[in-house]
Symmetry: D2
């Protein structure tokens, strides 16, 4: 069986890499470049969009040609225009996948889709994070061992305001005494959403082959199927009124 | 064991009853009056708030004294001020329960908390709805039989843009050929949310003793516990930074 | 991207077709033959096993070479040897997928994996069943419309003793007034399980192209990934003792 | 509102305390005595049953008068008679709650209800366990802080063969580098099941006031409601055939 390549758009805020030499040292061409290489190596078709482009690079045509959107942001969540957030949300509800990385838990689009502040506890001490696979049968766990270590990571901890995922795939252990639900799957409308928390910009986390494997897996998992029912957009635009019963009432 | 009375605020848009004689015939004192009587009979302390009061009756002091908010709206969702929606959302995240009834699936507050349009398919023909209990062990099913009938109801049908609930308690069968997940439980932040779809204003549905039982059950289920961890509001307001590890890093 | 063919074993009790002319009329070569043709057309590698073969056709070598097992049974659940049920259960826990069809809800293997009697309410009147897709984003909904009809079907209804699925994909409406959670996904150990209820032997249900599509989708969804952690069998056989901490205790 | 006392039966294997002075030092009157005192102080009506009584103390009359059964076992799971396991399972499916503690994850009754081996990774080094509350809104989290510590505990770790719970309430962090889903809620039939992992017999864990609070909460949560539909036992005993449609078919 042959599978069509997944069309991925990687959205990167792309500010840290240009402002901070410590981040640039890990990601001289931007975090998006490292993610793009990993996804292309896995057979995806990749384009990139960044905050400072017109419409943040997320015009309607780009979104229409995107199966899965990957999102990284941190410094400038509030600089993302609400009109673009509206457009991305509508595409997710209509079936586009969304993979949300690390500090993008506080992005407007993730908060919008989750319905909460999505706040987490955090500490930046460069401590060890151990990512445990708790649902090995899930597609996002494909090819992984029981756990893997990130020698230096930012701590994200419970309790969090991110809703419990429909399927919990990863739990992280931190050296300082915390745990975090670090990878979970959601469905909103016809779109599938995966949140994966490792990825702090001052450590080379996206160079780690197993982190790349998680992101590739998440993109494949989130890609839309070819369900042929009326699009949610139609329901939203007045198609929801069904005047005639499917079954005659008398 | 004695249990403190749940402090309930019933929010009713309260427009239909004043504008439409057919609705007034069922609810001369407002839908809220019928719900209030049922909740008081079950031992709850009830206050009422409506759209046309200042701040829609939902000032900060009222919300602070509310354990569970019940919401009914239909004609005027957009007339609810965003500032009030923000305030209600924050209270839910901090632990207040929310019971969302019928057409309030499209209220701003429910859409906000669910992250979707919450659209449903619908048809108004006064057809029979049969409400099946599919999770009898759930507290919201207490005291119910296997199913109960509403001889005349508005059809709400699948597919819907409301997210799959964490726990599905009711599924409705409609005479015209549709099904609907008519009762489901959600958690957002520290708040518990229950959506129950029967309740069209032109039929006397809230007079049905089993419908009242469902609403009483949902209110009890949604009432906050006394978890003593830091409130989410604290996490939202900067308390999320945990500088010192719980466990020394050595 | 190329995907390896899924290796499917179809297990069919294969008694009805030989005993009952009405069933034979629909399935002259057995229910398994119709399912095999649909799965082969979808690119799967298919073998067949039946009750009256030695070890019911499910010797260890066959199971070891099976990615997904499809199970149909009705008359003779108790004739399945416990040793074979044990073996199938272990393979599921170690990662083999399992697709359970119709009356196999009462098979020993499904009851074993679910932990309940898996009883349902039922009625055989040849009434209309309408299968609604309630989670269109799920892989098992790929290629389907919003709903499809089976003009004549056996009614399976709520309440049921089958546990609530992790993901609910289908809900059926029946002409006589019932609903049923007709398609749902489970994980047990490292195995993925899908139950799909339509399929009564006296109607030509497995000839329906959309029913075949559901089964093909379910097989693809249930196929194991290549998670590389220690197999559950190892945990079962004494590997569960981890004497040395991953992190020195100091 | 007044609530009827929950009728609890604590089942304790009661071998360790009689054989091992180190265990007896913590539990001179048996683990059940400490649990009974905590549950009685919380207003429950408590009886005790142990392995070496006739029918292990779980005759039909005792079970019929039990709302929630608490289960602790470790050394002698296989000594529990299958007939008793059958009886307990049936009562759970009919609505009795079940609270499963620590090493009882491998009890026959828990394996029966979960459908898996329920194996876990483990290590006995007396290391620190920190129990995090990840679903503060859940009734089983009532009265708890964000986390609490057990200075010395047996490690139970992922991956585990225990199925993912319907609701995950606790995640434990261990000093040696592991995490574990240490508290989760399940429904099987009409019975509610809570598993809570802390409780190793060589440490005084059941004397910890917050551990006692968890167990009290779990018992209250698992107590049956008064759903009035036909019991599952009826469905099991032939009542599942519904010959007459609720809705006339023509």
């Amino acid at each position: 069986m042959t599978v069509k390549p997944v069309r991925v758009t990687i959205w990167n805020e792309y500010r840290h890499e240009r402002q901070d030499p410590a981040v640039r040292a890990h990601y001289p061409a931007g975090i998006h470049a490292v993610l793009a290489a990993a996804l292309e190596a896995a057979g995806c078709t990749v384009r990139v969009a960044t905050l400072d482009e017109p419409e943040h690079g997320l015009d309607a045509a780009t979104l229409a040609a995107t199966d899965v959107l990957v999102w990284w942001g941190h410094l400038a969540h509030e600089a993302v225009a609400d009109a673009v957030v509206d457009r991305v949300q509508q595409r997710v509800l209509d079936g586009m996948g969304l993979v949300v990385l690390h500090s993008a838990h506080e992005s407007k689009i993730f908060r919008r889709l989750m319905g909460t502040t999505c706040k987490v506890m955090w500490r930046e001490r460069g401590e060890r994070e151990r990512v445990w696979v708790v649902q090995p049968a899930h597609p996002v766990a494909a090819g992984l061992p029981e756990y893997f270590d990130l020698p230096q990571s930012e701590m994200y901890g419970e309790p969090t305001d991110i809703p419990a995922p429909d399927e919990l795939v990863f739990i992280s252990w931190f050296q300082g005494g915390e745990v975090f639900r670090s990878g979970g799957a959601y469905t909103r409308g016809r779109g599938r959403i995966f949140y994966f928390s490792p990825g702090h910009e001052t450590f080379p986390i996206y160079h780690h082959p197993l982190v790349q494997r998680v992101i590739v897996n998440a993109v494949r998992w989130a890609a839309p199927n070819d369900f042929s029912g009326a699009p949610v957009a139609g329901i939203r635009q007045g198609g929801a009124h069904r005047p005639d019963p499917l079954e005659p009432l008398d």
